[in-house]
């Protein structure tokens, strides 16, 4: 059996290391607005985000770390009614740079 077949299933963080990014330091393009209790939609992002950018803190709030963002826009669409996140494209040239797409 090959390495690929016997290796433990890859974690998403490890996969993101294969990608190229130009991070716009200090200017995250996604922000979660201050909240005490997240809506079901926002909470769903902790599993739904394909890059695993969303996590829940011990006190129950949802946070985003957008450096590994794949810019799919899922979180924007899922929370469109609750308005809990502020989503913009990264500034021109920044963000993920797909080599193959």
């Amino acid at each position: 059996m090959s390495d690929v077949m016997t290796a433990p299933r890859a974690k998403v963080e490890e996969k993101l290391f294969q990608n190229r990014y130009l991070v716009d330091a200090g200017r995250p393009h996604i922000k979660v607005k201050a909240h005490t209790t997240p809506s079901a939609s926002l909470l769903a992002m902790t599993t739904l985000c394909p890059a695993g950018c969303y996590t829940q803190t011990e006190s129950g709030q949802v946070e985003v770390a957008a450096d590994g963002c794949l810019e799919c826009g899922t979180c924007r669409i899922v929370t469109r009614k609750t308005g809990e996140i502020e989503w913009n494209y990264p500034r021109g040239g920044f963000g993920v740079l797909y080599k193959f797409g």
Binding site: Q18, S41, T74, I77, V78, Y89, Y98, G101
Partner: protein
């Protein structure tokens, strides 16, 4: 950007297949075109399976085969219905697809889009990369007359703005040209690029030269969600991915990454990827709402093409050809109005919709207008029950175990009847026929 004093004939927002098609056709016809792309290069933000349907591009650049970065021409299509351990396949392979001008190719979008963009520049358009369009500029009557970008400077003016901004379509949505995309109308797909020596790919898939195979799969691989998986052979790599409707994903606790890992580890897929090296992990949204989800496409000074207009035929997994065709038709409409010195009013630009209605784009989307809802409402049956029943039937039929064939037939029909009931199956058949015709 104070240097752009004279309005452009057209500004194109985005450099994917629809934007490139639009910009190329307009520039080639002598219009003064500015195209604005937020990525470092065209393709750097774009993700697709990806299959290129030659016909749509051939109508724009007939000689594209001589220069475009193409991977393999598709000679074999495999349609798989999968349960957890099996797949039931319908394969079509023909030497007819080894023709002088092949019909379908696998491509890598980052490379293909970059090439297409170089053609746009050759045709005479001005292309600005690393620039994000932030909003539309309107005159007092509400007509769109230009755009603002995230670069410093005054707005850039144009007679018409072609919105080829992709599935997220922020500019159009924020300007109130269309509603936000609903989570029910869009799929989230994740994809990996797995590299292997080309000889390995050719041996594994029974290919020679630049022949290619594509696999589309449905069944329990999406864990009850509406969605499909795919595996495409490229020259020296394999694209493997899976996508499901966003609202389905939101109701489950399965992460997209876990779903992809499970698909890659399915006994029918795993050997195809053995020993490969993964070099990229990507995610993208795919419009799946079909005909009923198409937003308003034109207005005073603006016109929508490609994914921003929801132009994807989910049943046939076609998108980039609809993107290029809508881009071309929009461009031809603008060229014709410009030549006649007509204004880019809502009424004049509506000509684009008339032309689209005559093309395969609208005819196909209209044909399948009931499919998205049908699949969504019956996802448990179509993506779970039936694939399992099919696999059980196949196994009962093929396993030789001393049981006579009449008893086997009866067992198969009993299994279908007890699992889904006669009325249930008749209802499903009726619904499929109604949505399909």
């Amino acid at each position: 950007m104070g240097e752009f004093n004279k309005p452009f004939d057209a500004i194109v927002v985005g450099a994917g297949p629809s934007g490139n098609a639009a910009a190329y056709v307009m520039a080639k016809e002598g219009l003064n075109v500015l195209q604005i792309e937020r990525g470092e290069y065209a393709g750097s933000k774009n993700v697709q399976g990806a299959i290129l349907y030659a016909d749509a591009l051939e109508q724009i650049i007939p000689e594209f085969r001589d220069e475009a970065p193409l991977e393999r021409h598709v000679i074999e299509q495999r349609m798989w219905t999968m349960d957890d351990k099996s797949h039931t396949g319908m394969h079509y392979r023909s030497d007819d697809f080894n023709e002088e001008k092949p019909n379908r190719y696998t491509i890598l979008r980052a490379q293909f889009d970059k090439w297409f963009s170089s053609k746009v520049k050759e045709a005479g358009a001005l292309v600005l990369y690393e620039t994000t369009v932030t909003e539309l500029v309107r005159d007092l009557s509400g007509k769109v007359i230009g755009v603002r970008t995230d670069r410093q400077g005054s707005p850039i003016m144009a007679n018409v703005v072609v919105l080829a901004e992709g599935v997220n379509g922020l500019v159009g949505q924020r300007s109130g040209l269309r509603d936000e995309v609903a989570p029910e109308s869009v799929a989230l797909a994740v994809k990996e690029m797995h590299f292997l020596p080309r000889e390995t790919i050719e041996a594994r898939f029974n290919l020679s030269g630049n022949e290619g195979v594509v696999i589309e799969a449905m069944g329990t691989i999406t864990k009850g969600m509406t969605g499909t998986g795919f595996l495409y052979t490229n020259e020296e790599s394999i694209s493997v991915g899976i996508g499901c409707i966003v609202s389905d994903f939101a109701e489950t606790n399965v992460t997209p990454n876990e779903l992809l890992e499970a698909f890659k580890n399915h006994p029918s897929i795993k050997p195809l990827l053995a020993d490969s090296e993964c070099k990229e992990y990507a995610a993208h949204l795919i419009p799946e709402g079909g005909y009923k989800a198409i937003p308003q496409l034109t207005g005073a000074g603006w016109i929508v093409v490609g994914d921003a207009g929801q132009f994807v035929n989910a049943v046939h997994r076609e998108g980039s050809n609809l993107a290029m065709t809508t881009g071309r038709v929009a461009a031809e409409t603008v060229v014709s109005l410009t030549r006649k010195r007509e204004e880019m009013t809502a009424a004049n630009l509506a000509e684009y919709e008339k032309r689209l209605a005559q093309s395969f784009v609208m005819k196909d989307l209209k044909k399948y207008k009931g499919i998205p809802e049908l699949l969504h409402k019956n996802k448990g049956n179509f993506f779970g029950t039936y694939p399992r029943l099919l696999s059980q039937a196949m196994q009962t039929w093929f396993r030789v175990d001393g049981i006579d064939k009449v008893s086997k037939e009866k067992a198969i029909f009993r299994n279908f009847r007890e699992t889904r009931s006669l009325w249930g199956m008749m209802g499903d058949a009726f619904r499929v026929v109604r949505a399909w015709r």
